[in-house]
């Protein structure tokens, strides 16, 4: 522990050495009217220069009487520090450090001001009905967005600094009195255990703290929408904000969250229920369809209705590749188009999709390289996967597994693959909560928000899997 020296020159050399004379560290020396030497440090472009000049430099220079510094500098977040290491840390977070000769105290003023993106609608989670605002990269803006949703004094943020080099600010948010204490303690423990030099995105945190790193199922939720985070932490979850990332993590995450969207609660229950059943249907469709199609085609021709078989077989006439290879090729082509569509500049992206559609859809069929039903199957698979977009990584990978099993062992293989997937999913835990809730273990209260979305007024209890202590949602009911 190195304390601040009384000689301002010593401090100056120490700070400059600590920063290795980096060019964006600005230091400015001046003397006050009472001939005291003052030196200030800040990082260029990180702070509000106008405020610095007006509220710090000018009053200090014009100061004639030997007064307390707090009476000179009229900024509310002025703090006193005795340790030089802390000063150095704070400078890189956007503080202005003030050293006064003959004083063993450094003053820190938070004048952070930097360029940030304005609040926009997140492209990946757009809704028809519901708020359109999304998180940005700046953590304080993000926390404000959440505070705007939950104005209760029970909303608590806890800050952590993670990453030796990046010194990323991470903060967890929860509603005191609702949060599941076990989960909260587990989150604290795991965040403290992270040992890394860099956190560049909340995805880093996710990978450090997730339960089962081998499983393809995501056990930590992420969203870009403040209303979603508010909804989740009001059910007893914990949210993790990470500076520099518009994706906020929520834990614990259950499997059903993959088929729930915030819009389900904004629209009326009938259609929400219908949409959820469609999502579950397309979940199975997108995993199983290519595998089942290939399995039926090469192992179980007797199971296909005759007319369908005839048209399927007719389409396969003259196709040079075996059905399994054909399906694999088409899936790879689809992923190619998707990947290039994301990576390419937007102007070129549309060209890729046109070429892709033409090459895939028409030319390949006309040239007889793939059969038309296969194109339909893969296209349906691709469309279906976007309805359950939170699971997309799992879906794409497991689809290939099922295809492989189906091509080698028929429906037996497909069944094995599906059973393995379901068992693997249900055996997971997310921060001590069973991943399969409310199906396994079955939970009556949770089932109200499963495939059938009951009316909001019937959501009297919070889902039991997540919430432990404070089960009742409506205060009016609590009194009875």
């Amino acid at each position: 522990m190195i304390l601040i020296s009384k000689r301002v020159e010593d401090n100056k050399t120490f700070v400059l050495d600590s920063f290795n004379n980096t060019s964006d560290l600005i230091h400015y020396e001046f003397e006050t009217n009472d001939n005291k030497k003052v030196i200030i440090f800040y990082i260029e472009g990180f702070i509000d220069r106008d405020l610095l000049d007006r509220d710090i430099v000018k009053p200090m220079i014009s100061n004639k009487e030997n007064r307390d510094i707090k009476k000179i500098i009229s900024i509310s977040n002025l703090s006193e520090v005795y340790e030089i290491k802390e000063v150095i840390n704070k400078i890189s977070e956007g503080n202005v450090a003030i050293f006064i000769n003959g004083n063993s105290i450094a003053y820190l003023v938070d004048l952070k001001k930097w360029e940030k993106r304005s609040i926009e609608e997140p492209l990946a989670e757009s809704v028809v009905r519901g708020p359109k605002e999304g998180f940005v990269e700046d953590i304080s803006s993000n926390r404000n967005l959440l505070r705007k949703k939950i104005k209760s004094n029970n909303l608590v943020f806890e800050d952590y600094v993670i990453g030796e080099q990046t010194r990323t600010k991470v903060s967890i948010a929860y509603v005191n009195g609702i949060v599941n204490e076990d989960v909260l303690n587990e989150v604290r423990k795991r965040l403290n255990n992270i040992d890394t030099d860099a956190i560049l995105e909340s995805g880093y945190i996710e990978q450090y703290i997730e339960d089962n790193k081998a499983s393809m199922f995501p056990t930590i939720g992420n969203t870009q929408k403040p209303d979603v985070v508010a909804g989740k932490i009001l059910e007893g979850r914990v949210a993790i904000f990470c500076d520099g990332s518009p994706h906020v993590l929520t834990v614990p995450r259950l499997f059903i969250e993959n088929i729930q969207t915030s819009e389900d609660y904004y629209i009326r229950p009938h259609y929400a229920t219908f949409l959820r059943s469609i999502r579950i249907f397309s979940l199975f469709l997108t995993i199983l369809l290519p595998g089942v199609y290939v399995a039926l085609q090469i192992f179980h021709q007797e199971m296909i209705p005759t007319v369908l078989l005839v048209s399927m077989a007719g389409a396969r006439e003259g196709v040079p590749l075996p059905a399994a290879i054909e399906a694999f090729l088409m899936i790879i082509m689809l992923e190619l188009i998707k990947e290039s569509g994301i990576r390419l500049p937007r102007a070129v992206g549309s060209a890729v999709s046109i070429v892709g559609a033409l090459v895939l859809g028409q030319a390949a069929v006309q040239a007889g390289i793939v059969s038309a039903p296969m194109v339909i199957v893969i296209a349906v698979t691709a469309i279906a996967e976007f309805t359950v977009s939170p699971l997309i990584e799992l879906l794409i990978l497991h689809r290939l597994v099922i295809l492989f099993l189906g091509a080698f062992a028929g429906l037996y293989g497909v069944t094995c693959g599906l059973v393995a997937l379901i068992v693997g999913g249900l055996s997971l835990n997310s921060f001590g909560v069973s991943y399969g809730y409310p199906i396994a273990p079955i939970g009556k209260k949770g089932l109200k928000d499963f495939v059938i979305r009951f009316p909001l007024s019937s959501f009297i209890f919070r889902p039991k899997g997540i919430e432990k202590t404070n089960m009742v949602r409506h205060t009016s009911r609590r009194k009875k």
Binding site: I298, H300, Q301, V307, V310, A313, A315, R316, Y412
Partner: protein, 418 residues
């Protein structure tokens, strides 16, 4: 824990050995059969396969008018041998799972099916829901390749005709499972569907392009004594058979309109004059459409004599009425119901008499009923049941209930303006 895991994996691996349908086959290595004909010549079996010829734009026959099918014929001592011989003359493996019909030549049917049918039961590819038909008066391959319907594939064409049986009940859709059920059961003999070519009778200019002079018909049924064909039932007798077997679900009954008592009718028939009434004696016909029909058969021993009781309850709807009676009156409907019952009874009796007196074979399963009711007595008579059956007395009781009269109840010759 580790042991359990290894055990689980090994169990999963073991199951792969148990699967009966191992072995992948690409669709474009298969010749999908839609109809099979089986004939016999000397001691050689001739199999004829109708194979769907696939071309990428299947759906309608091609512009040159040729069909989307191929026919191949092979010989062998057994069906399996004949089947495998197809690979010598055809480029695809014969795939029987989608075979819709098996057409049996008359000669083969007369010789007995059993030695040739083991394959159909044993092989996993043969679908047991495929229909069996006897080609009446011809070889099976003479019927094959002949289709006067919309469907190009003869297998589908014949299958659909058999499925439409419910509209007339004049044919019997019997599949392999049902055949074997009747074949093995005590006290019942199998009946199989019939297919035959019939002369086409057209007006001069109708369908001039269609040069085929005959059409296919599935009317009737073939009667078997265990495995051998002994004779045929015609359309009406087949309906009688279907009635006794409780297989009439739909269909129509046509009968002469009963002459209704004139003195009563003058009151009933409002708006018609005396001249019209006198015309009632002329034979006109009424049609009743069957909505629901239930048959209950009973075998009873009365005074040491076996009596067969057939009890039919039919619900129907008036479908067509040629004469001008007022069907809105209860009395008229009652008369019609009685007449309808009489007609059904007549058809049932015809079928029963034909089986009893002509073929002396119990195709209705009364022996089976007897066996269930009097198992001890059955043992004594089971060997000559068919002889006993040909002598027993039967009582047919039919009750018809006309519950609807269609969307009109105005007599056809009601006077204008009334």
């Amino acid at each position: 824990m580790k042991k359990k895991f290894i055990l689980l994996i090994s169990i999963l691996l073991l199951i792969t050995i148990l699967t009966g349908c191992w072995g992948a086959q690409e669709l474009n290595t298969l010749g999908i059969v839609s109809a099979t004909g089986i004939d016999i010549e000397g001691d050689e079996i001739i199999t004829t396969f109708e194979i769907i010829k696939l071309n990428p734009s299947l759906g309608s026959s091609r512009s040159d008018g040729s069909k989307n099918v191929r026919y191949i014929q092979t010989r062998g001592k057994t069906i399996f041998e004949a089947l495998r011989n197809t690979t010598l003359v055809f480029d695809r493996r014969i795939y029987l799972s989608h075979n819709q019909v098996y057409i049996l030549g008359e000669e083969l049917a007369k010789k007995g099916l059993t030695p040739y049918f083991d394959f159909l039961q044993r092989d996993h590819e043969c679908r047991e829901t495929a229909y069996l038909l006897v080609s009446k008066g011809s070889k099976a391959y003479e019927i094959m390749g002949f289709s006067s319907g919309v469907e190009d594939l003869q297998g589908n064409y014949i299958r659909d005709m058999l499925k439409n049986n419910k509209f007339t009940s004049k044919s019997v859709p019997i599949n392999i499972t049902e055949y074997f059920k009747n074949y093995y059961d005590a006290g019942i003999q199998p009946v199989v569907g019939v297919i035959q070519k019939k002369e086409k009778k057209y007006e001069k200019n109708m369908e001039m392009k269609n040069k085929d002079k005959s059409i296919l018909s599935v009317e009737g049924a073939a009667v078997f004594n265990r495995e051998k064909l002994v004779g045929y039932l015609n359309g009406e007798e087949t309906r009688g058979y279907n009635y006794v077997r409780n297989k009439v679900k739909d269909g129509i009954i046509e009968f002469p309109t009963p002459s209704i008592d004139i003195s009563k009718n003058t009151l009933l028939k409002i708006g018609s004059n005396v001249n019209n009434i006198s015309n009632l004696d002329i034979k006109e016909f009424t049609v009743v459409e069957i909505i629901k029909s239930i048959t209950k058969n009973k075998v009873e021993i009365e005074d040491g004599k076996i009596i067969l009781k057939i009890n039919v309850k039919t619900k129907g709807m008036l479908g067509e009425e040629q004469s001008n009676i007022d069907v809105s009156k209860d009395e008229v409907i009652k008369t019609l119901e009685e007449a309808c019952s009489k007609e059904i009874k007549k058809q049932i009796e015809k079928a029963l008499l034909k089986a009893q007196k002509e073929y002396k074979i119990d195709i209705f399963g009364f022996g089976n009923l007897f066996y269930r009711k009097y198992p001890k007595d059955w043992k004594k008579i089971k060997d000559n049941w068919n002889d006993i059956f040909s002598e027993v007395e039967f009582r047919v009781d039919v009750k018809t209930d006309i519950i609807r009269t269609g969307i009109t109840n105005i007599p056809s010759d009601s006077l204008k303006g009334e």
